[in-house]
């Protein structure tokens, strides 16, 4: 970018890729923002849904969750929220876990946790939507 050619240690390939020392450029940052943006309306829906459902019994809650629109938005909320929180937790882990091996292991564990919560929740929603 500057005319500082003689001091630039980057290879021509690295410059063309433009991904920097993280090797992923701004992808992590960008996905954190994208999911954060989606989270705002989805969170507001979720909160409103819970307010409306406060005090409801078993049958009422099941019927509400089985509504196709509710189920769809809930699944979107889960996917966006969980993806977002996995990205966020990765940054927290990278900040505090120093040992490279432990860092990889913790991030992997966080990914498993995220997927487990997501699969369990979405399976429950599908079960409710497609027949009790």
């Amino acid at each position: 970018m500057s005319g500082n050619k003689s001091n630039d240690m980057r290879t021509p390939m690295a410059k063309v890729r433009g991904l920097g020392s993280s090797h992923e450029g701004t992808q992590h940052f960008w996905r954190q923002r994208l999911t954060a943006l989606a989270n705002i309306p989805l969170t507001l829906f979720f909160v409103g849904f819970l307010i409306a459902l406060n005090g409801a019994g078993y049958a009422e809650v099941r019927a509400a969750l089985a509504n196709p629109f509710v189920a769809l938005v809930m699944i979107l909320f889960l996917i966006s929220g969980l993806y977002h929180m996995r990205l966020g937790m990765q940054v927290i882990i990278e900040d505090y876990v120093i040992s490279e091996g432990l860092k990889l292991a913790t991030i992997a564990l966080s990914t498993f946790f995220t997927i487990a919560v997501g699969v369990a929740s979405i399976f429950a929603l599908l079960k409710l939507a497609f027949g009790g």
Partner: protein
């Protein structure tokens, strides 16, 4: 490690430290930044509550009643109240990040004002949600 005795003597002498944690009053922006991380982490583990609630609803009347009972105890309510506040605070903190991402709101005093606004806003939203929740319940 080949320090001369004179250098070692200097190093041993009491040196003033830069503003240190024990005497440093954190500015509101720093406190809110830390809280954004803490609420993000709390929300991370709090997703378990959402998963448990959905699974109970999909499983049986007994499981559902049990979770409803647990969430309804004073401890359960306290946790859910805290979760509501964490979610609202983190959401407003995220909006703050979006404002910064455009390059706006970074001036020191503006940043402090926005930081106070997120705190106030999160408390107000949390109370509104809980009042509305109890009104929906009709109690």
């Amino acid at each position: 490690m080949s320090k001369s005795p004179a250098t070692r003597e200097l190093a041993r002498r009491e040196r003033p430290l830069s503003p240190h944690l024990t005497i440093y009053r954190p500015p509101i922006t720093m406190t809110m930044s830390i809280i954004h991380r803490i609420t993000g982490g709390a929300l991370y583990f709090g997703t378990l509550l959402v998963a448990v609630w959905l699974m109970a609803a999909a499983t049986s009347q007994g499981a559902f009643d049990w979770v409803n009972w647990a969430f309804g105890t004073w401890l359960g309510r306290l946790i859910l109240f805290g979760y509501t506040w964490a979610l609202m605070h983190h959401m407003l903190g995220g909006v703050r990040h979006f404002i910064w991402d455009t390059g706006a709101g970074l001036e020191k005093h503006t940043a402090s004002k926005i930081a106070w606004a997120t705190l106030a806003g999160s408390v107000v939203l949390t109370l509104v949600i809980w009042v509305a929740g109890y009104m929906a319940r009709g109690a």
